[in-house]
Amino acid sequence: MTRRLWLGAEVAAVALVLALLALLVWRVVTDSNPSVAQSLNTGKHPTAPVFDLKRLSGDGRVDLASLRGRTPIVLDFWASWCVPCIQESKRLEAAMRTYAGRITFLGVDTKDYGPDARRWQHKHGITYPSVHDGDGKVLSRWGGLPIPRIFFVDRKGKVVGQLVVEEDLPRYLRQIAQS
């Protein structure tokens, strides 16, 4: 009886070690998936990873899956503590008026304090909707810090590029509007 108990304990210990090993492997494999920014840097155009986040202002959520493949999207990762984000968001606000009805503009307020973020939008006159990515998990899948990061998704749901230099904005906007 004691011998059987001892054998059971040994089997349980080995099973526990194997389970922890499997968890480690799973984490390494999951973390090694390239972000959208990394894929773009290697010349690939990945399908936009979906997310489902709460709106920054008002109730409800935005599910990117419901937009992806239906309309071109400009995705703007920003935060109220990010100084360069002010200028980029203002440029997107102006572009939104030009491409109204043809391109969806969506902000992702990331690693930010919600009340400050709402004040920031009001202060700088940013009217396109934003969702709140408080823990930054969505930002990580798209490329991580630093921000601002602005991505352009065509009508088929493929990420065609991200804004690197000023000239990228009109070029990518034309490209996804025609997709």
Binding site: W81, V83, K111, Y113, P115, D116, H132, G134, G136, L145
Partner: protein, 157 residues
């Protein structure tokens, strides 16, 4: 030994409630040491980044409004997720992070103690104390001993 361990566990559980209690008047320094900066990987008190300063201001406003540390932390977790706290909460699922390592140490100590006890019981018994005159050898066969005595008696005679 087991009784002492159980007693230790009971004492730890008895002391747990004070640790779980909320501080109604937290200090800015206390919370800055317990909350992470979301972009730097350090606690707030070690960072002057704009994101850290933003949270420091939010904490300051809430302390001024008379909120407890639990309430302030709840608000920050609701906004940033549980990773904003430098240490897991001492309640709910977070309690596991505190007790599982302790439980693991206790279980490991018990296993080692049990193994040592079993090993000590299995050891071979010590050989009986032998006659020093044998010089480590076994006793002579009685027939050989009798013959040896006869030979010695013959020489003595």
């Amino acid at each position: 030994m087991i009784r002492r361990l159980i007693a230790g566990g009971v004492i730890a559980l008895a002391l747990a409630p004070p640790a779980l209690a909320c501080n109604a008047h937290p200090s800015q320094a206390q919370l800055e040491g317990e909350v992470m900066c979301p972009v730097c990987g350090t606690t707030l008190d070690q960072s002057d980044s704009p994101a850290a300063q933003q949270i420091k201001r939010a904490i300051h406003r809430r302390i001024q409004a008379g909120e407890s540390d639990c309430r302030i932390k709840d608000a920050l977790v609701a906004n940033y997720g549980s990773s904003i706290l430098a240490a897991p909460r001492r309640s709910g699922f977070g309690l596991l992070a505190w007790w599982v390592p302790l439980g693991g140490i206790v279980v490991a100590a018990l296993a080692v103690g049990l193994a040592a006890w079993r090993w000590s019981r299995r050891r071979e018994p010590e050989p009986a104390a032998s006659d020093p005159s044998l010089n480590g050898r076994g006793a002579l066969d009685p027939a050989i001993e009798r013959r040896l005595d006869e030979e010695l008696a013959r020489y003595d005679g």
